[in-house]
Amino acid sequence: MIVDGHVHIGKSTRLQIAVDGAALVRVADAMGFDKICCTDLTALFYDMHEGNRLLYEEMQKFPDRILGYASLHSTRFGQEAIDEIKRCRHDYGMHGLKIYSTPEVSIAESAMIPILEICAELKMPILAHTTPQECEYLMSAVPEVSFIMAHAGAQPYAHGDWNRAIMVAQRFSNLYLDTASSAIDTGFVEACVAALGATKILFGTDTPLLDPWPQVVKIRETRLSDEDRKLIMGGNILRLMGVAE
C-alpha cells in the first residue's frame, strides 16, 4: 500500500493553492497512491476549528482515501487547542497532528509541551514543519511522542540541512523524517536509511505545492529492499497512525 504522508487540502493564497478532496484523490489515482494524509491550510494558517471541520467534510467524501491530520495554527491557544485535538481525534477520526513553525513564531517553546503530551496520550503522530534544532528541544521535552520532521530539514527555515536532520533523528528513537521536499539530492534516501533504518523514513510529496513525480522517483530509484521500500512508502505512517493496511 502506498500512502502519501504529506498532502495539503483547502486554500492558501500564499502557497497559491486551492484544492478539494476530489482533486487530490484524482492526483492520487494518477500516481497510484492508495491513501493520502491531508492537512487543511485554513486550519494550519488561520482558524483551526474551521479548517479541521472542512477537512473532516472532505474525509467523509473519501473515507477510504483521505487520512486526516488535525492542524493547529499556533501553539498559543492553550486548552482550546487541546480540546480541538481531542475533537479531531474522537469526533472527526483524524489520526495525526500537523503544525508549522516559522522563525517568527517557533513551536520550540513551553506552550507546545501540552500539545506534545496530548498527542502522545492519544497516539497521534505530529507532522511538524520544523527545524532539527527545534526537534531537539521538543523531543527532549516529550520523548515518547511520535514526531515527524516534515521535509527532513530540507526546507527554508531549516536552511535545507537534511544532514543535520539525520544527525538529530539518530538521537531520538521517536523522531522520524518525512521525505517531501524540493531537494532531490542523490543519496539523500540512502543516507537516511543507512543512518536511521527504513522504519524512521516516511514518504510524502507535499502535493499540491510540489510535483509528486520527483518525490516518488527519488525513492523508487534508491537501492532498497522491498521490505524497506514498503515501510517508507506507507507502512511506517500507517503504523504510527494506528491504521490497518
Binding site: D185, T186, K218, E221
Partner: protein, 255 residues
C-alpha cells in the same frame, strides 16, 4: 536525445556524493538515460574558476560525446595579482567551450556593479554564447542565493544575451522567470530546481515550450527525479522532445 543543460563534474564540499570524477558522472548520466550534459567543474565554483575550467576541458576531451563545456567566469581581480582587463573568448572557443556560467553568489562580486560582468555579457552576446545564471547552484534552501531583482536587472541591461536562468524553484521565483521569458525572447529556463506542482506545463502554457530546457543538477541532484517531472508533464510529445533536447541543441547551434 536527452540533453541536460545543467550538470557538474567535481567534488561537492557540503556533503558526500557518490560520483564526482568525469567517468563516474558519465556512469550516473547513462544510468538515468541522460545522453549528454552541459557541464562545468565545481572547482570553478568553490576554488578557482580558471582551474575548474581546465578540469572541464579535460573531461570533455575524455568524454566528447557525453559532455558540452561551459566556461565558469569570475572576477579577474584576486588578492595576489593585479587585475587583468580582458577575457580571452577566442581562447575559450578554441578550447571547445560553448557558453558561460556565472556564480556571483559564490565568487564575492555583484552582478550590477562590476565592469567585468558587462564585458563578459557583451562578448557572449556578440558570439551568441548562452549564459547560465543560477539563482542557486542546486535546490537547497541553505546555499547562497542571488537577489531576484538583481537577476532581473541584469537581464534587462543585457537583453541580447541568450540567457539560461537556472536554480529557479516555485512561486515568486518562477513568476519572475516566466515574466522575463515573456518579455525577452532571449531568456530560457532550465528545470533542475523547478519543483512546483504541474510547473512544467504551466511554464509551457505561458511561454511556449521552445525556451524551456531540461536540467538535472546531476550528479549532486538525482537525475531520474529531475527527469521525471518533465517526462510526466501533460504535454504533447513534440513539446517534450523540445524540452528534453532539441531546444538546447538549437541554442548551442547544433541543429
Amino acid at each position: 536525445m536527452i540533453y541536460d543543460a545543467n550538470a557538474f563534474i567535481g567534488k561537492w564540499p557540503y556533503w558526500p556524493i557518490r560520483s564526482s570524477a568525469p567517468s563516474q558522472v558519465v556512469g550516473e548520466l547513462e544510468g538515468w538515460s541522460i545522453d549528454r550534459a552541459v557541464i562545468c567543474s565545481t572547482r570553478s565554483v568553490f576554488v578557482n574558476w580558471e582551474d575548474g575550467n581546465v578540469e572541464t576541458e579535460a573531461a570533455v576531451r575524455q568524454y566528447p560525446t557525453h559532455f558540452t563545456p561551459f566556461a565558469c567566469l569570475g572576477t579577474l581581480e584576486l588578492s595576489h595579482v593585479l587585475p587583468r582587463h580582458t577575457y580571452d573568448f577566442a581562447d575559450y572557443m578554441s578550447r571547445g567551450f560553448r557558453g558561460v556560467r556565472l556564480y556571483p553568489q559564490h565568487h564575492s562580486y555583484h552582478l550590477l556593479y562590476e565592469a567585468f560582468v558587462d564585458s563578459i555579457l557583451e562578448d557572449a552576446a556578440s558570439r551568441g554564447w548562452p549564459v547560465l545564471l543560477p539563482l542557486r547552484i542546486i535546490m537547497n534552501w541553505g546555499l547562497p542565493l542571488l537577489d531576484l531583482s538583481v537577476m532581473e536587472a541584469l537581464v534587462i541591461r543585457h537583453p541580447r544575451v541568450n540567457w539560461i536562468l537556472s536554480g529557479i524553484n516555485y512561486l515568486y521565483e518562477l513568476q519572475l522567470a516566466i515574466s522575463l521569458m515573456r518579455r525577452f525572447p532571449t531568456v530560457h529556463l532550465e528545470t533542475s530546481c523547478v519543483m512546483g506542482y504541474t510547473a512544467i506545463a504551466k511554464i509551457v502554457q505561458q511561454c511556449g515550450a521552445q525556451r524551456l530546457l531540461f536540467g538535472s543538477g546531476a550528479p549532486v541532484q538525482h537525475g531520474a527525479a529531475a527527469l521525471s517531472k518533465v517526462l510526466h508533464a501533460p504535454l504533447p510529445d513534440s513539446d517534450l522532445e523540445a524540452i528534453l533536447g532539441t531546444n538546447l541543441q538549437r541554442l548551442l547551434g547544433e541543429l
